[in-house]
């Protein structure tokens, strides 16, 4: 069935620094037919190289989820090209996707959900189970391996979804606000755990978040997006030493500087967006605290 996608047989690009993910002039709209076609993304140009951790930051509705779906090959662009390792992307175990709304199968246990993603990659059921259990352990859900999704809290569901994407040990990890429904403590623990997993494997990660702090803490580069039409405004290098869990990154001057800058930009974007609920509220004083 899948001829070139199974991993080993696909030729790696000859030059190591050439981008793994390459988007050129990509546009994507939704709707049409009788209604107006909404441009979700317009003229996206993006190159992501091997082993980088990229955070996508931007207000709601600016096409972040759409961008990930395009990279995974779940939807096709209206214009432009998307290339992953030189080929048009095809969904499969080489790319792991953590969806914004968990998307757990309600009639399968946590283990069953993780195993579901492994069928294509691992033929032997016993081995599949071992792999699933290992990643369930890493997200701290071992006690709930046999629980059904309806028995889990929102945060636990999110960790189950994370385990499912990680278990394939993908080359490319696409994460759509994977920590949004975690409490502050679990969130920090999971951030560090994700960092560890990523640095072990040096896979390529694209991480969508609304949290400025999270983006700075995790990423090598931050892609700032703007709405209507969804577009890339700026790509910012973070330039903070790794591993970042070994020291207090948040105390670094560079951290504060980035945070201040990104905060201002996003605030300006929201206030200038006629579709936003906060359009034109200039009297609100700039608050650079919290995230």
């Amino acid at each position: 069935m899948r001829s070139d996608a199974a991993g080993g047989s696909a030729p790696k690009s000859p030059i190591p620094t050439s981008p793994i993910i390459e988007m050129k002039g990509v546009s994507k709209g939704f709707g049409g037919g009788s209604g107006e076609r909404v441009a979700a993304l317009q003229d996206i140009n993006l190159e992501l190289t091997e082993g980088t951790f990229t955070a996508i930051l931007g207000p709601s509705g600016c096409g972040k989820t759409t961008l990930l779906r395009l990279i995974d090959g779940l939807v096709q662009p209206d214009a432009g090209t998307v290339r992953v390792a030189g080929h048009p992307p095809r969904p499969g175990p080489e790319m792991g996707f953590v969806f914004q709304s968990f998307r757990l199968i309600p009639w399968r246990t946590v283990r069953g959900n993780v195993e579901f993603a492994l069928v294509e990659a691992i033929a032997d059921p016993a081995e599949r189970r071992r792999r699933a259990d290992r990643y369930i352990e890493r997200v701290g859900l071992s006690r709930f391996a046999d629980a059904y999704p309806r028995q889990l809290s929102g945060g636990m569901k999110q960790r189950a979804a994370l385990a499912r994407a990680l278990a394939c040990e993908p080359e490319i990890l696409l994460l759509d606000e994977p920590f949004a429904s975690l409490d502050a403590q679990t969130r920090e623990l999971m951030q560090v755990e994700l960092m560890r997993l990523w640095s072990e494997r040096k896979s390529l990660a694209v991480f969508v978040t609304h949290s400025v702090d999270e983006a700075i803490f995790l990423a090598d580069q931050i892609v700032l997006m703007g709405p209507r039409p969804g577009r890339i405004l700026e790509v910012i290098d973070v330039n903070l030493t790794r591993p970042r869990w070994s020291y207090d990154v948040r105390a670094e001057p560079r951290f504060a500087e980035l945070r201040q800058y990104l905060w201002e930009r996003i605030r300006a974007l929201v206030l200038a967006d006629p579709q936003s609920d906060f359009y034109g509220r200039d009297e609100v004083q700039s608050v650079s605290t919290g995230s």
């Binding site: 996608a5 779906r69 969904p91 175990p93 998307r103 579901f116 993603a117 069928v119 294509e120 309806r150």
Partner: protein, 248 residues
């Protein structure tokens, strides 16, 4: 557990009400519970009840079984191959809105008065709700889950088996339940309109001759079949949907 006690309570109350009316209605139009019980003993001893029951069940199971074998796959196919579904569904809805009794003369012309005509009448009644519900179940499949399955590289057939099919199950079982009831009704209707046999046949005979005790025995037998089939379906549903827990 409590619910069973309550049910027994209601049953006792119903029998009491029945007995009360049997004493006040004239000309023994309503037989007493005791007379009905004796009638049942007689019918069983003579073997009339079992013969009729066998006749009826053969027709019922044949027609209902065929309805399942055709309705479920066709409904799922229509829900999966959306263009096919959209093309055909209007005809299915039209057919299901037409009173099936209207087809009986036509069926008799083609299939006669025997078992095949009866089975077909049962099939025609049961297949519509089964098909329509299986169709709705497949149409209703969770798009987000399907996309998730695509993203892990699951094949079309695996997505169908492991996402669409289990998602359609509650709908399909609802269809089976409605189909079971309509199928039973149509069995009796068929036995009344074609060659008079089976439980429906006995119903006609005892009704026309005012042998109300026997008539009641037949009515209870039919009700009992209905309860049996729906209970079996509910148990099946509970087994298949254990993940929902006790809440559902």
């Amino acid at each position: 557990m409590k619910i069973i006690l309550y049910r027994i309570g209601v049953l006792v109350a119903l029998v009491l009400i029945w007995w009360f009316f049997s004493t006040i209605v004239e000309r023994q139009l309503i037989p007493s519970p005791l007379a009905t019980f004796h009638a049942a003993e007689r019918l069983i001893a003579e073997g009339r009840l079992s013969t009729a029951l066998l006749d009826t069940l053969t027709i019922y199971i044949g027609g209902y079984g065929a309805a399942i074998l055709i309705g479920i796959p066709l409904g799922l196919l229509m829900g999966t191959a959306r263009t096919l579904g959209k093309t055909l569904d209007i005809f299915i809805y039209a057919l299901s809105a037409t009173p099936r009794v209207a087809f009986i003369p036509l069926i008799i012309v083609f299939l006669g008065l025997g078992a095949s005509a009866k089975t077909f009448i049962v099939f025609l009644g049961a297949v519509m709700p089964i098909l329509i519900n299986a169709y709705a179940g497949a149409l209703n499949s969770d798009e987000d889950l399907v996309e998730m399955a695509r993203s892990v590289g699951a094949s079309k057939s695996r997505i169908f088996r492991e996402i669409v099919l289990p998602g359609a199950l509650p709908f399909a079982i609802t269809g089976l339940r409605i189909g079971a009831t309509i199928g039973l009704i149509n069995t009796v209707v068929a036995e009344l309109y074609t060659a008079v046999r089976g439980l429906g046949g006995l119903l006609a005979i005892y009704g026309n001759t005012f042998r109300m005790a026997e008539y009641f025995v037949i009515v209870f037998t039919l009700a009992f079949i209905g309860v049996l089939v729906t209970t079996a379906l509910r148990l099946l549903e509970m087994r298949l949907e254990r993940w929902r827990g006790n809440g559902a």
